[in-house]
Structures are given as structure tokens and as C-alpha cells.
Symmetry: C2
Subunit: 483 residues, 2 copies
């Protein structure tokens, strides 16, 4: 048989010959049962040593591409040459994902960092300040966790509890009881990969395709993405100054997703009366309530309203929290305190989804909480964020009052300010960007037609001087836009 092998230089001759023979077999140029030249002849033909061709044949035989018949030479194995036909067919439609995953609407995805513009003052939401984070204390906790990790299991590493590391669950339970008035045992706490996974697991265990899920309008797009992906029918329920309008909840709602401490994105807390109305409604209808307390740790005015969880006597509320806003988002640690009936299902679901989280970070965070570092950090950040918020509000109600009106909000690390007529959100955002001020319109948070024009001002990733500069520049931008 005639074999065309082209050697390029003298480097890795074995690899070159092996690769070309193998390709010839797979692509069908060397047919099944074809006899190969002897290793001696092939070596002579190519001007290489016999050892080289022997090595190549050995490898191809071991891999099943070639076979030998005693005293009869070496042949191409059969059953190997049928791929080319398959390859020739168009195949793009085969390994296709189901509809919803192929292209998610833009508004369902989290805002990613702005591409190429450098902003002098960025009011992006969902980001936090690392400059005030006690990295020294954190490094101590991480290194302590490394020692724990090396010791655990007596040198044998195995899978961990899907619910999370015990110290962290203990730290979270103590913190919730003390600071959020959510009384629970550490066994009630399921640690998750950020609040996002808590919401996904809750939805997976409660919602079936076609079930009605209610959420606030405007609301939190990543939660909407979860419910859509499960083929739920989503009811977008309006909010008023007290929170979600309970009267507008569909009667057959299976799950209600709400943000009572700090409505996302508008900011108002859900009033106590509305909370009780919602709980009563859920108890009557048999709906599960998911209470997402995503940044309620930072409260600047008034006393805290009772959490839905603490008012829940019917066992319907799953309380979800996160460290993404109090520490940083790339930590990816959140948690859920579910109703007792959902504890085991959530544990099962976490096991199926990804078994459990990162032991190192969980152990370190547990120590960080139990050592009091977390509480100290919260106090530090509370003070810093209070100053930023005060600076923001001072400008918005001062020099910018002609164009903006802040929505009432008592907590969190962002606020929303309405745009007074007749300025248009998209135009204002674009003009601000031109002036290197990062503003974010609220339109993407509406599933339907936006009822308000406004911008979200996050102060997690900025500073008082940057706020002063940015808002002065914004006043200039607005003035330049006319009126």
C-alpha cells in the first residue's frame, strides 16, 4: 500500500508519523484491513530509525487502530473508518440546547462590568467596597482554614455536608438571631453558592412547569431568569409605597418572591401591615414566600420592621440572605433558612446540583463570624455607606432637585431616584456616561412597560469625594440638556 507521510524537520519524528497514520485511519484514507508496510520498510522509506517506526506501530496497536496477525503483518483495524460520512452531515442542530437556554433576554442577565468606558464616578449596583475590608483578619481566617482542611479526616479528603460547614452555619444562625431577629438553630441554615443558588434550589424544589410564581414589578431580573428557566408562569405584581400589592396576587400562586427590607430596585421597605396581609394571604392560598433580604443589614433610618420569617407562624417563609453585599460578591456565599418542610428537599437538591460548596472559604468565613470580625466589618461599612448615602441625598434634594426625586428608602447600598418630567431615563444615562458618570436606568428591572423613569444609584463601590464630583458633573449634564 502507498502511504504518504510528510516529515517536517527532524523534531518528534514518532509523533509526526503517528499523527499522520492515525489521521489517515480515522478519515478513511487507510481502509479497514489494509496491510501496512513492515516497520523496516517504512523506516527506510522515511529515512528514520527502525525504533521510531516500531514505537509508532506499538502505540497504534495498543490504541486499537492497527492489529497484527501472527506471521502475516500489520493491518488497519476495522470499525474505525465510518466517521467521515457522519462528519460531512450538518450537525449544528444536534447538540442544541432547549429553547430557553440558547439565548437569554438581555434583561435576565446580571449587569456585567461596563465594557471600555472609564468612569470617574460609577454608581453601579451590586458591587461592594474592598478597600475597607480587613484583608489581614481574612488572611488569618483563610490560613487557619487551610490548617483545618489539611487536618480534617485524618489525611483523607472526602465529600462534605451539602448544608455547609458547621461553624459557618453556627455563625449565620447567631448573627440572624442577634441582628435580623430571625431565630433559628444552626441545623436550619443551608449554606448556598450565593443567594442566587438559594433561589434556584427553592424554585427547583417547589415549582413545577406551568406553576404560577409571583414577583414584584419592577423586580430582580436574576430571580426572573430562574423562574423562567423552570417554565413557571410569572405574575409581575405591582408594588406601591407599602410593597407588593397583595390584592393583585393571582389566586393560584405557588411561590411569591419578595424583597421586604429594601424593595429591589425601588428601595421602600414593605410595611408591617402589608407583611401581615401577605402572610395571611399565603396561609390561605398555600403559597410559599421567599423573603430575599439581600442588603437589609445596612439600615439608616427608623427601626427595623419584623422580617416575614419572624412573623411566620404557618411555616411558609424561606428567608434568604447573602454575604455578597456585606463582604463581596465573588465570595459566592449565601444561605437560606427554609420552612422545616423544605429542609430535606433543599438538602437533596443541593446534593444533586453540585454536592456542596468550597470548604476553605466556608470554614474561613465561619471563623470570621465567630471571632466577631464580621460584626466589626458591618459597623465599619455601615458608617461609610451612611456617609455616602447622606452625600447622595444632599445633592439629589439640593442642586439636583429640579430633575430628580429620591424614592423613600431606609436601607441598602443603593437608592433609586425618579426622574421628574420630562427627562428621559435613557437620554440621561447616556449623557451622564459621556461625562464619565455611571448611572443605571431602572427600565431593565421591569418585565413589562416601565411605570417610572428613574436611575439606580449604587454607593457600594464609590466614595464621598467621587459622589460629590460625580453629582456636580451630573448637575452640569442636566443643565446642558435644557430647562
Amino acid at each position: 500500500m502507498d502511504i504518504h507521510i510528510t516529515l517536517h524537520g527532524r523534531h518528534d519524528l514518532t509523533g509526526q508519523i503517528y499523527g499522520q497514520l492515525r489521521a489517515g485511519i480515522i478519515e478513511g484514507r487507510l481502509a479497514a484491513h489494509a496491510r501496512l508496510p513492515s516497520t523496516r520498510d517504512l523506516a527506510a522509506q522515511l529515512g528514520v530509525s527502525r525504533k521510531t517506526t516500531l514505537d509508532v506501530f506499538d502505540r497504534l496497536i495498543a490504541e486499537g487502530f492497527l492489529r497484527t496477525r501472527a506471521g502475516d503483518g500489520t493491518f488497519v483495524a476495522d470499525g474505525l473508518t465510518r466517521l467521515p460520512a457522519a462528519r460531512a452531515e450538518p450537525t449544528s442542530a444536534r447538540a442544541r440546547a432547549t429553547g430557553i437556554w440558547r439565548k437569554m433576554p438581555e434583561r435576565m442577565s446580571m449587569p456585567m462590568p461596563p465594557a471600555d468606558i472609564t468612569l470617574d464616578c460609577d454608581f453601579k449596583g451590586g458591587v461592594t467596597d474592598k478597600t475597607l475590608f480587613p484583608f489581614d483578619a481574612w488572611r488569618r481566617c483563610i490560613n487557619q482554614a487551610l490548617r483545618t482542611q489539611a487536618r480534617t479526616g485524618g489525611g483523607v479528603a472526602s465529600y462534605r455536608d451539602p448544608a455547609g460547614e458547621q461553624e459557618l452555619r453556627l455563625g449565620i444562625a447567631r448573627y440572624l438571631a442577634f441582628s435580623r431577629a430571625v431565630v433559628c438553630n444552626w441545623q436550619d441554615v443551608l449554606v448556598t453558592q450565593g443567594a442566587q443558588q438559594a433561589l434556584d434550589l427553592l424554585a427547583r424544589v417547589v415549582v413545577q412547569p406551568g406553576d404560577v410564581v409571583a414577583m414584584e414589578e419592577p423586580g430582580y431580573p436574576p430571580a426572573r431568569a430562574i423562574f423562567s428557566a423552570l417554565h413557571a408562569r410569572i405574575a409581575h405584581v405591582p408594588v406601591d409605597e407599602h410593597g407588593i400589592v397583595v390584592d393583585k396576587l393571582p389566586r393560584n400562586t405557588r411561590l411569591v418572591y419578595v424583597t421586604p427590607s429594601h424593595q429591589f430596585p425601588l428601595g421602600m421597605p414593605m410595611s408591617l401591615a402589608r407583611r401581615i396581609e401577605l402572610l395571611e394571604w399565603a396561609a390561605k392560598r398555600g403559597a410559599v414566600i421567599v423573603e430575599d433580604d439581600y442588603d437589609g443589614e445596612f439600615r439608616f433610618e427608623g427601626r427595623p420592621v419584623e422580617s416575614l420569617k419572624s412573623l411566620d407562624h404557618a411555616g411558609l417563609v424561606a428567608y434568604v440572605g447573602t454575604f455578597s453585599k456585606t463582604l463581596f460578591p465573588d465570595l459566592r456565599i449565601g444561605y437560606v433558612v427554609p420552612p422545616a418542610t423544605l429542609s430535606e428537599p433543599l438538602w437533596n437538591a443541593r446534593q444533586v446540583c453540585d454536592l456542596h460548596g468550597c470548604m476553605l472559604t466556608q470554614t474561613a468565613l465561619g471563623a470570621f463570624m465567630l471571632d466577631g470580625e464580621y460584626a466589626k466589618h458591618l459597623r465599619r461599612m455601615h458608617k461609610a455607606y451612611a456617609q455616602r448615602r447622606a452625600a447622595l441625598i444632599a445633592h439629589l434634594t439640593g442642586a439636583l432637585a429640579h430633575w430628580f426625586e429620591p424614592m423613600p428608602s431606609t436601607a441598602g447600598i443603593h437608592l433609586v431616584t425618579r426622574l421628574l418630567e420630562p427627562w428621559q431615563e435613557a437620554r440621561v444615562v447616556a449623557a451622564a456616561r459621556e461625562a464619565q458618570v455611571g448611572l443605571y436606568g431602572i427600565a431593565p428591572f421591569y418585565a413589562g412597560k416601565p411605570l417610572l423613569q428613574g436611575v439606580l444609584l449604587g454607593y457600594g463601590g464609590t466614595s464621598v469625594p467621587a459622589i460629590e464630583r460625580g453629582l456636580k458633573r451630573l448637575a452640569g449634564v442636566m443643565a446642558a440638556m435644557g430647562a
Copy 2:
């Protein structure tokens, strides 16, 4: 009105009074619109300072439990007292999970650590040896990653790319090209929370309820749990000495899950001819193939067979790998190199499920790979595991040959040995446990009736001396069982 408040000692008087008033309102004992005594009268009645009762009222007013009418006193707010009726109803059925999540069959869950028995030699699978892990190098990588984390984003922490940290994706792509003959760009690699999440994401984007998913019988229970949870119809396809029997695959299979490097649990590699048969079949039927290469890094005999991914010209194979077996399971890092058509859907799905993984560990592992530490560790573990495997096989084919026959296996960190007639798996496992030897039967890996009696011997978490001791003791156990 008559208010019964009982003070226990003089500690936290405000809290005691507040709690009892609040409970009275929520439970309906203090009716809506009821007028409260003045703070002065209440203070006198309870023998506390006026400041205490003022503080209590302020808090209850701020929270919406009480309201004041100018010049007319303080009243219980309305809309707050309707909870008790709801609470009295039986509610356990309301916050219930859907069927599959409530109670997962035992065989679907990962083996958890044995409860209370101390084993002298434990052949548990899926665990690894930490004593040989270079914790010093790892600590350097982690501390370097901490510095990176502190610096990244100029002090602002935000969400990261759902596909994972770039250095790690680069490290994985290079490693795959060099060691696993899976040629890909770093952009093709999606980092996941262990292989389990890779499988879950793949199933979520490809499989719809009622779709047929084929897996090997016996097979990997955690994968089975994923497919069941998605309401797939699972076809349990037998394996022979070449791997999954392609002729037995249902024609309408949407996804085939296989473990070609080291069939889980039996151990034999899929032959090249069978691989090509499977690829051809999938191309004809339009099925997606998931190739789970969970411990193929440790190969002890023969040359590696081509991965399905490297033979796939039709764009149907998703290659899944993990660090759980090469480093340790609680790291929770795996990856998938999908067909191009599934890249964006998987990215979307990862974003919906949990946004992304732990930045710290990913960054550290990237450095660990790019610095060459990973390759070094693989060589070290390869040597150690080879010695353990040799010790195991020597005993199984020596003193234990009367009872056991190892299945052919060329790779991995466990092997399966058949039990020769007439010894029964469950009896042998129980007798071994009595003698402090941890054996694991293969029956739980069958979805249907087991076709073989055998035990799985993991050597990831043991040592040569422990193996010698354990198998000597096992020989005694077997002899004592008769014949």
C-alpha cells in the same frame, strides 16, 4: 384596657415589655383600635421608668404595631390580628416540595462517611489522600490569590465571569491538550462547582422532561439523580468488556452519559472500536454524549485510548473533568469542554444557577497549574497510587484468589473485584466491617437487579501498609465464612 405584662427580674425591661405587647397584638389578644394606657400610667403600673415605656411605644409605633392619633392617645393598629386563624390550620402540606425532592432513594445519594464504626483499613471510593498534597505550595497560591482578590477591580468587588477565572481556564486547557489529548482553547473551558455541576448544567440545557437519557448499568448514582430530577426517562444500558453496549441504546436517546476512561464502577476502559461505534451512532441519532473522565489521570497500564472528545468530529461530545480525584473533593472544582453549540447555553445556565464559583480558590488553582505544581502532584500521586494498586492486585490474585477476581482496569483510584460463587456481596461486606475493613458492595450502583456480585476497593484514602493489613484480615474473614 387591661394589659397583662409579667416582668421577670429587672433585666432588659424594655425588651420584656416590647415582646409581650407585640405578642399580644399579633396573637389578637390586643384587638385592632384598642386604646393603650398612657406611657406614664403603664410605667406606674409596671413599676418601671417612663423612659422605658416611651422607648417601647416608640418602637412599636415605628414598626407599625401601634399608631397615635394627635391628642387622643395610642391605639393598636388594624390589619395585624388575623394571623392566629391561619396559624391554627394544619399547614404541613403547603410548603411541600414536589415529589422527587421530598425523599430521594438512598442509592441516589453519594456515599456519606460511615457513621460510627472506626475502620482500620477503609477502601471507600471517591476519597483522596491529603497527606501527600503540597499544602505549602497551595498556601502560597492561596495567599497570592488573596492579594489578587484584594487588588482586582481597583478596590471594587463585583461579579465575575460565570465561566470561571481566566488563569484557571488557561491552566485547564493547557493541561488537557498536553495530558488528555483534548485540544481546546481556554475560552472553550467552563469551570464548574465539581463535575456534578457540569453534569447538572449539561442535563438542564439539553434534557427536557420525558426525554430519554442513557447511562451505563451499573453506573454513577449521582448522575442518575440529576437525570431523575429533570424527569428524564432513564435507559440503563448494559456494559460488556468494551464498555457500553451501543446496540442496546434506545433509538430516541437524547443524551448518553458514559465513563470511557474507567467505567464507573467496574473499571474497564471503553475500547477504541466501541468509542467509534458510539460516536457514529450518536451522529446518526443526533444524541449528545457526555464523557465523564473522572479519574482517567491515573493510568497504570497500556497506552491511553483516544478520548471521545478528541475523536468527535460531529460536535456532539461534552468532555467533563474534575479535580476531586486528583486534588481533593472538597475543593469543588470541575470543568466541562462542551461542543461549541452548548457553550453559550451552559454559560447562561451557570449564571442562572449560582452566577459563578469561588474566585479565591479558582485563582489559586490557576496559579497552582500554571506554576507546574499540579503536574508535579499528579506524578507524585501516580507513583503512590500505583504502589497501592499493585499491593491490592497482588493480594487479590494471590492469597484472596479463591474468593475474588479483579475486573480488568487500567486506570483510576479504585478497582472492582468480582466475588466468585457462592459468596454474597452483602455478607462479605458485613463480615469485613466486623473486622474493621471497609469494603463497599457494587449492588448500589445498579439501577436494576445486579448482574455481578462484587466489591469496590478504593485506594485513594489508604496506604500500602493499611492495604496489606486489611487484605490479610480479609483473607481471615473469608476463610472463617467457610470453604
